[in-house]
Point group: C2
Chain length 288, copies 2
């Protein structure tokens, strides 16, 4: 998905929230926000929002000298989500359809995205409260069929905190298909509250899947900027799940079949997907 | 109230909405949005948001060649509000406290502000549905006392559509105090969906109050930029009601007593006033 002019105010809002994590000095915040406003016009609308975010947050890191402003918030979100993992597992154990519930939990976890909601991370207990009752696009039955014959699955992660629900889903997939080769993709470096290798380790993702980095520091897996290892697996995996809006924005023009699993949080993505803001989406792309 | 960095994304969002009324050409929208992003950093945060809006919308008018992009929308909003005037008058007639209800209707009308809510104008029927049940700041009793001894009242208008509810309130004030000298202030020229002399004429405000223009084309009455006539009355009126957020932002540092009557629509104004977004406010300023 390309960038729309609606994304400009949203970039500024998110950048300001990030700057406020780094400094209380309003003059310094303004200096960098002004730089962002000078940079935005030079970036083509044909680029996806995560491609633009890569440039802007790179500028932020250089100008502030802070590589990972969300480091503490991410670690705290992971801890809080881990603390309620037993509760979420109990919910799964009681579910009439475990896989379906695990998918729903993973989508509910997507509401923890700090890049969009700045009121603070929701505790994992809230994940259960945000379980979608229905999916606006529901290709879970197709995913379930594909899963029965797949030998490999690549799961492209999204945010910290949420990653605990992703781990739960991958554990459930592993339970259904113990021999499946599972790979979890994290970002190539810290970017907003997105998952990095540290987050994957903190939540024990490496015990369930092989964890590899995307190869770039954008809030998505970017076509054309994938590391060699991830690119090979992205091209050859039998199943790919791309989690969250960022990965949708980056990969919606991709030729290969894959599944998008996300909570729609903004009107621009909603228009692109044909769903309302707030919708849960599990969409088979290119026949998946 | 000065401008905060939070206002930047909001300015861009409002400018984009305005640009879309003028042209469907995204390249042209981007060109002007880019100019706005180049201009914003040069404007001091010490200025109030309406002062910055005056500059930005001046730029828009020059660049697009369209002086009044909201012209049709404003006229339509006035027509719709006028159409349900009998209903609102019936509501007043049935009210246990007419003046209090008229004040509440005027605040409810403030929800029609297109500059903040872009889903389109609400019909005046909806004004009644949005009647505030309580005021977060409620100096209406003080206003009522002051009204008994005042000889003159200056009412600084806000938006089209809403102006019909303002007329209703002024008619009610006139009913209580027939001899009161009433003045209604409109903007000095078209700016977003704010009231101009045309709107005042369309809704018959000139039959109830003397209508004078602010002297500048900002979405507020700006200290230091008032026309001579309005400045004299602003300084000498026994009572002043400043309607809406824009007038609050512009006049909150004023030395003279006045009443702010508004619906709080943004977190920055809410923080300044100490109320939650969505609150109705009737605030005595400087002892009023």
């Amino acid at each position: 998905m390309r960038t729309f002019l609606d994304c400009y105010p949203c970039f500024l809002r998110q950048v300001l929230a990030t700057l406020r994590l780094v400094t209380d000095d309003e003059a310094e915040q303004k200096r960098i926000l002004d730089l962002v406003m000078a940079r935005l016009p030079t970036l083509p609308l044909a680029a996806s929002p995560p491609e633009i975010a890569e440039v802007i947050y790179g500028l932020l890191a250089r100008e502030t000298g802070i590589e990972d402003p969300y480091r503490e918030l991410k670690a705290a979100a992971n801890r809080r989500a881990l603390a309620s993992l037993p509760e979420l597992e109990a919910l799964l154990a009681a579910a009439p359809d475990r896989l379906r519930t695990a998918v729903a939990l993973a989508v509910a976890g997507n509401l923890m995205d700090l890049g969009v909601q700045h009121e603070g991370f929701k505790a994992a207990e809230e994940i259960a409260a945000h379980l979608p009752r229905e999916f606006a696009i529901d290709d879970e039955p197709l995913f379930r069929r594909r899963l029965q014959t797949a030998a490999s699955l690549l799961y492209i992660g999204d945010n910290a905190g949420e990653i605990v629900a992703d781990r739960l889903l991958l554990a459930e997939i592993r339970r259904e298909r113990p021999e499946l080769e599972l790979t979890f993709v994290v970002r190539g470096g810290p970017i907003i509250n997105d998952v990095t290798i540290e987050d994957a380790r903190q939540v024990g993702m490496d015990a369930i899947a092989e964890v590899i980095a995307s190869g770039c520091r954008a809030p998505a897996l970017l076509p054309g900027k994938m590391g060699a290892a991830v690119e090979r697996r992205f091209r050859t995996a039998d199943l790919v799940i791309a989690k969250g809006q960022g990965n949708y924005e980056a990969l919606s023009q991709e030729k290969r079949p894959l599944f998008f699993l996300l909570q729609c949080k903004c009107p621009v993505v909603g228009r692109d997907l044909g769903v309302a803001v707030g919708s849960a989406v599990f969409k088979a792309h290119r026949g998946a």
